[in-house]
Symmetry: none
Subunit: 539 residues, 2 copies
């Protein structure tokens, strides 16, 4: 059977940006676009050019992707031509190959929200999409509130999507904007649209998760004939979020009844990176990854029930709907030390530490990780700190140096110009062999800006490491993430530091303490120790 | 039209307990049973008597509920009679009116996991359910792996459920144990079971969320004729969780096409308490509530997009699928650089600040927000800092006090027992009117634990505020979130602080600086200023 092509349209950078608490910077948007391109989605909706500085900055930077870049905007307003609508002009000026415009298809919204006549709205749709295609761009129509509109006035809703389709739209996207439409309604209405004359190969589906049915509604539309599906990574989006592509993509690729029928632009190899991409996005947004997320959650293949765990050891298919490896995830059997050990050996091998099966150090390492995770540490991303912990238990961690003490001062006061300014100063005392080194640094950078106490501490620590100085000279702190664990009066701070060297290698370390400076210091020490080991210093 | 009765079966206390990281105590289980009873579910599955001390303790306590209490167990083992199976006896001895036994219906599991013949399994099912009904209990059969079993061998799967039904089961529950079955398959197979002779009024559905379709799969089974639905509060459960009753219940009660057809034991009044129950459960488990949860999440009715926010002000149904009040939730219009003036006026009004349409201050406030958001501030959650910013532009912010300077010292060194210990000390100089106050505090708490520099700073700041002291004495820092914005060498720290007073009011403030101590200090200052305004200090 010839497979039908399904197109994946990602709107993480536009609708995902509507998530409460999410605020992308332009560099973050560029980074996410690169992740989406690696994954292999067909379209990346980058934002709304002209709507805010971040989105404009993104399109100015014009990241090059194999995925088709789409700019989002709205259909032209009444009382002016498409050519003379400045909002639409800003969208066109972004110069993207695809342009997606949201417009009305629900009479109530045309009359109440826009305050124009139903005929005017149809004219605006036609003029807008003719303008886009005349400018040789691929046109998409996000038919806002389409399902609610169809239920209120099927004739008018169909007129709107037909007008857009006949004006040259490559895709008419049926949007369940309020997220309240159930999957069986989505299926029936999608079929009605196809019957009315918009072919399924030109129909897209855009759902929201307000009844937890965004994924199911998308699948219902695909089963009814739609061939484009819109969604976001990790289900980000306005209110309860959009259809979760991190769930839809593996479902489309791994469920036999779908995989036999449809093909996407996403390879099995790219699918293997799904967990990594999901976590990267959480890292960028400093969001706690959702343990129970379908396919990619840390608990998605955790078998806690005793009956399940024992059957899993006989045959994993007894309690797993897919092989976790296919999406880059891993099985967890909390109660089974045996499974824990094989997982651990795999991770140690990844770090170049070959350990024999049955080595008693494996159990010691597992116990140490368990205890530290109870204290708030997390080794999911801090691979360098994990390696140091394992080396300690394996007797493979040299004592490069010892920190005797440190002191950091943060001061805020008026300067001679009567402005409030801050300055931090750090003193670190390190013993290397018999040699005691006292170093002091301040938090001012070369441009006279205060960079804070952790910066001062990092500089003091790296100032004079005697025989190791050459090895650490090219190290640089590139990212710094802080999370509060536990909460309340027992709150502890977890700091994850990403370091980079001159060759572009990057590594992550973790520190935990109720004192944020201490937690940072611990992560900094791990970062230096790991670099010294990797470069073979004094070993 | 006469409505058909749908039965809600809650398994939070059994399958919900299989969530990784969830561990109920007996008193917690009793508390949750009371919450479920208040909500009005038909059945509460309390656990597995005899399987662990917590579950046994729960049934020993025998909480009295209007909901039917069910004990969970497994069908009798081969080679002994139902009367002589000690595992089954422990379940029966709990004395609950209903007994639910899990059993096999998939040939692979019968032969691989149990290692018995297909005929033996049928005998075990029959004997077990005859035993339960002979003892005048309501019997339920959780048909494990039913959908996978049906796909592998429809005849045998149907023989199993028919055997249970004919042995007196009130309910045959079709379980998608591995969570991999899609809603359309669930619909088709449920119809096949009804056609084979188990009436829909005796059929239940039990789904898992491994493809994010647990709610949709449950609705598909109901549409196909099943009349009992199993699930958990907040979607707790093994791996990715069970069908989320916190979502299914409002969907069943509020979506017209379902509400017109079915009735449940849950009243509109009880539905109004849904958000509260969801949060109570998170509190008991010390889990962070999921902001984007359908219906009950704090962001479920948050309208961030500017176009949405302005339409919501005209008519909330423009972007809401239900009235948030019906589930005890509330609308939020967060501030962000995408929001417009109407959105702003609404949010000011919520803060008790009435501003006329067209007031030039509105634009000044929007510009100030925009600029600050570019600097890394975020006012989505920090409502108190938003109010202070708006008051500043409106000339409504009193100068309660001025901070002249502060100094924080963080020191780590060996104590007299040769252990490395940390201690922070903060000095703050504040001017109130003509009065200059110098305060010093250290980071040690009453139990001798170091709580870090921000804690020392907060204590010093709140130590002597002269005339305002009484007003701030009951303030307490309850949460502290940190994230790095921008990244790289221009990295800035954004700190969000949640404060609480003695009356249980809670408010959030934000501070931004490359220096984490400075950012925290700014958020602390906002927290105090907001409290002084709210309590009308000196105004």
């Amino acid at each position: 059977m010839t497979k039908e092509r399904l197109y994946i349209y990602d709107t993480t950078l536009r609708d995902g940006q509507q998530t409460q608490g999410v605020q992308f910077s332009t560099p973050e948007k560029i980074q996410i676009a690169e992740m989406l391109d690696t994954l292999g989605v067909d379209y990346i909706e980058g934002g709304w050019p002209g709507a805010n500085p971040t989105d404009s900055g993104f399109f100015d930077a014009a990241p090059q992707t194999r995925s088709t870049m789409a700019a989002f905007g709205m259909t032209k307003r009444s009382g002016r031509s498409a050519e003379n609508d400045d909002v639409l002009a800003a969208v066109m000026n972004a110069g993207t190959p695809a342009v997606c415009l949201v417009g009305k298809s629900h009479p109530f919204h045309v009359e109440t929200a826009l305050g124009i006549t139903l005929a005017e709205n149809l004219e605006n749709l036609t003029a807008s999409f003719k303008h886009i295609t005349a400018n040789k761009r691929e046109a998409l129509f996000d038919a806002e509130h389409f399902f609610d509109g169809y239920k209120a006035n099927p004739d008018y809703a169909l007129q709107c999507v037909l007008a857009a389709y006949k004006s040259g739209c490559r895709w008419v996207v049926l949007c369940d904007t309020n997220g309240g439409t159930l999957p069986d309604e989505i299926a029936a209405i999608t079929k009605a649209v196809i019957a009315a004359g918009v072919p399924g190969t030109h129909l897209g589906i855009h759902t929201h998760n307000d009844t937890e049915n965004a994924v199911a509604g998308s699948l219902a539309a695909i089963n009814a004939g739609a061939r484009q599906v819109q969604g976001t990574l990790n289900g980000l989006g306005e209110r309860c979020g959009n259809a979760n592509l991190t769930t839809l993509i593996p479902t489309l690729l791994l469920k036999p009844q779908l995989a036999e029928r449809y093909e996407t632009g996403i390879t099995k190899g790219a699918l293997h990176g799904l967990v990594k991409i999901s976590r990267q996005l959480d890292d960028i947004l400093n969001r706690v990854p959702k343990n129970q997320a379908a396919y990619v959650g840390a608990s998605a293949f955790a078998h806690k029930a005793g009956l399940h765990a024992s059957a899993i050891l006989k045959d994993p298919t007894t309690y797993e709907h897919i092989d976790p490896e296919t999406v880059g995830n891993a099985r967890i059997i909390p109660m089974s030390n045996q499974a824990g050990q094989s997982n651990l050996r795999k991770r140690l091998a990844d770090a170049g530490l070959g350990v024999q099966k049955g080595d008693p150090a494996l159990n010691r390492i597992l116990q140490a990780i368990k205890q530290r995770e109870e204290e708030g540490y997390s080794y999911d991303t801090a691979q360098a700190s994990f390696e140091l912990l394992a080396r300690r238990e394996l007797g493979l961690l040299p004592d490069f140096f010892e920190v005797k003490r440190y002191k950091v001062t943060v001061e805020r006061r008026k300067n001679k110009y009567n402005e409030m300014v801050s300055l931090s100063e750090a003193v670190v005392v390190v013993k290397i062999g018999d040699d005691k080194k006292l170093s002091v640094s301040e938090s001012m950078d070369s441009e006279g800006h205060d960079r804070g106490p952790v910066n001062a501490l990092a500089k003091a620590l790296a100032k004079d490491m005697g025989p190791y100085q050459a090895c650490i000279d090219d190290m640089r702190l590139v990212d710094f993430k802080v999370r509060i664990t536990d909460g309340g009066t027992e709150a502890k701070t977890r700091v994850i530091i990403d370091s980079e060297d001159g060759a572009g290698h990057r590594w992550s370390t973790v520190g935990v303490s109720p004192n944020i400076v201490d937690a940072s210091f611990e992560a900094l020490l791990d970062a230096i120790n790991w670099k010294l080991i990797r470069d073979g210093a004094g070993v």
